[in-house]
Every structure is written in C-alpha cells, then in structure tokens.
C-alpha cells in the first residue's frame, strides 16, 4: 500500500450538530474529517494543503460558499468541492457548476449520497487508503 493515511475531508457548515453527525458518518468510512463553523475558519486550516475534498454548506452566516470558492481559487487551491444546499434550484446548480463545484447535494441528506459522492470523487485514492474496516473506538469523533 502506497499511502495508508486516510484521505482528509474538510467540512464548513454553521450547524455544529450537523457537522458532528457528518463527521461521525464519514469517519466510520475510514476518512479523516475536520469541521469548521464557516469559510474563514476553513481557510485557516493547516490541513487545507493535504485535504482530498471539501464539503461546503451554502448556508453560512459569515462567508458565502461562493465567496469561499473564489478565495480558494485565488489561492490556487483546486480541491474538489461538494456543495450542500437547502434548495438546489436550476440557477444554483448552474452557478455551482460554473464555480467548479463537483457535486451539489440538497439537504436534508437522507441517504448515503455524501459518502457515495466522496467515494466517486476520490476514486482510487479512497480504495488504497480506506480498505480497512474501521473499528468503532477509533472512529468515533472527538468531542
């Protein structure tokens, strides 16, 4: 195995309980997860250089997801992005596509769409890093 370090996913969403829940389910899949309240905090994350994928909520009081995307592109961060939205209108989808968002998911997330989306985006990187069965003790998110 070339790289056994689990892929790092960064999440920015203002609802802390939802963040923790997403973290729980992604960590169980063997992924490493950092959560942030908003885009500015995410930009400060040292893990940004190592991250494999970003999950951004479009409902953030401090920085709009599209603002954040512009700032990331300005810094030449070309990470794949999944956008979570309360209402995936045609307009929003088009705007997201233009901004380079890989996947738009509408909340509430009621299935494994996020995990599946990340799996597709990471492709072989996921397969090599995450082929061990996570044990509950290891994977449970830190409070």
């Amino acid at each position: 195995m070339l790289n056994s370090r689990p892929p790092l996913i960064l999440i920015a969403a203002d609802d802390q309980s939802m963040c923790e829940a997403l973290q729980f389910s992604l960590q169980l899949e063997g992924l490493s997860v950092h959560t942030h309240r908003d885009g500015s905090a995410l930009l400060e994350d040292a893990g940004l250089k190592l991250a494999a994928c970003l999950v951004l909520d479009d409902r953030k009081p401090h920085m709009d997801a599209f603002d954040l995307l512009r700032r990331l592109r300005a810094r030449d961060v070309g990470l794949p992005v999944i956008l979570l939205t309360g209402h995936a209108t045609t307009h929003l989808r088009a705007r997201a596509a233009t901004a380079g968002v890989r996947l738009v998911l509408e909340k509430p997330l009621l299935d494994n769409a996020l995990v599946d989306g990340i799996r597709v985006i990471l492709g072989s990187a996921w397969e090599t890093a995450v082929d061990r069965q996570p044990t509950p003790g290891q994977s449970y998110p830190n409070k």
């Binding site: 829940a21 389910s25 209402h87 909340k107 509430p108």
Partner: protein, 230 residues
C-alpha cells in the same frame, strides 16, 4: 406566512441530516454481526431511516409549495380526502377509548388541493384532538363537513377535551407554541400556512359540548370550474 414555512423547512434540514448521518453510521457499525439483537436494532434503524425520509418529503413539499406558490394541486373529492386522512389518523385508536363520529355532507364537493398537504393538516388536527382527550372521561371525536355556501366548504374536527386555555388560545397558531411536553409547536402554524395557501382559513373555537372545535374552509370547485378543468 409562506416565509415562516420556508424558514422552518430550512431549519429542519440540519437536524434531519444529522439524524440520518447517525443512522447510516450506526447501520454500518452493525455490519457483519448477525445475532438476534443486532438484527432487531438493524430493523429499528431501517424503520427510523424510513421515517426520516418521510419527514424529508414533507419538508420538500412544504418548500415546493412555498417557492412555487402552487404545489401539486388536483381535483379531489372532499369526502374521500377526509375518509383517507381519518383512516390514517385513526390507526390504533381503539386503545385510546375515543368514540369517533363522521358527519359528512352528502353533497359531493370537489376541491382543488394538494392532497398530501390537506392530509397532513387533517392528520394533525385529528391527532391533536385525540391527544387532548387523554385525560378526560368523555372522549368524542367528531369530524364533520358542511357546505357553508356555494363556494365554501367547512371542515371541522371537534374534541371533548379540556379546551384551550385563554393564554394559549391567543397564540395557538404561532410557531413553537405548544402545550405538549414532546411537542415542537409547529403543527398548527404549518397547518394554517397550508390552508391559507389554498385560499382557506383555519381557526379554533370552544366546543359548546366542552372541548375544542377546529374549523377550516376550502374553496369548492363550481360546476363551471369543473367543466373548464376537464
């Protein structure tokens, strides 16, 4: 009013997403183990996930009707709507000791409504009525329809519970007002939003027999409307 429903729908997205994430994670944690207890937990998780899905569909509907103004409205028989909602709401009613009576106006009335939404409102009113009578000895639930005039149908759901305290009555339809220990206090406010979006009204008044009557109106489709819509 639509704004409130929309806000509620958006606020519910986060906790619902969290619930489903925990369910999915728990389901995953149970993979590979197949003793009886694990199977039962898995089954319970599946069922919980189905209910979360249902809640999600209600949110989507709500959001759709708020944003589009018109949700999926079709011509429906009022009698049939009430019978269907009654059948759903009255599942398991026997244990509660409530006597249920239907007094439906025999004149066939058609209304142009979103069936799922009207079911939701009726379900909510009927369940509230049943819950209101848990502590009372006389438990009579009456679901009635009358044609107020050519254009307006009135539907009422009455209970013989303790009635609504004046302090609560004034803000009964405000969101997050509830007398139930487990309640969220959004049922009636959403119900009113739904009925008003259909051009009707929803209000409560004291039941002369003791208890409360919830009344709502819906516009009746006239014969001309019916012919036009064909």
């Amino acid at each position: 009013m639509g704004e409130m429903a929309s806000t509620l729908a958006h606020e519910l997205n986060q906790p619902l997403t969290a619930v489903v994430s925990y369910l999915n994670g728990s389901r995953r944690l149970l993979t590979g183990s197949d003793n009886l207890q694990t199977l039962m937990i898995r089954d319970a998780i599946e069922r919980a996930a189905e209910q979360a899905l249902r809640a999600g569909q209600i949110i989507r509907r709500l959001r759709q009707f708020v944003t589009r103004g018109e949700s999926e409205r079709h011509l429906e028989s009022l009698t049939k709507l009430i019978e269907e909602a009654g059948a759903l709401a009255l599942i398991g009613i026997k244990e509660s000791g409530v006597r249920v009576g239907f007094k439906l106006d025999p004149r066939m009335t058609f209304v142009l409504v979103d069936k799922v939404q009207i079911h939701q409102v009726l379900l909510n009113l009927i369940r509230n009525a049943i819950e209101a009578m848990q502590e009372t000895t006389r438990r009579v639930l009456t679901i009635a329809t009358t044609q107020r005039d050519e254009a307006i149908a009135e539907i009422s759901v009455s209970d013989t519970g303790p009635g609504i305290a004046p302090a609560i009555a004034a803000q009964l339809f405000q969101p997050f007002v509830t007398t139930k220990p487990e309640g969220m206090g959004v049922g009636l406010s959403i119900s009113r939003t739904i009925i008003e979006s259909h051009g009707g009204h929803l209000w409560a008044e004291p039941n002369p027999d003791g208890g409360t009557i919830f009344r709502m109106t819906l516009r009746i489709m006239s014969t001309e409307d019916l012919i036009e819509s064909v």
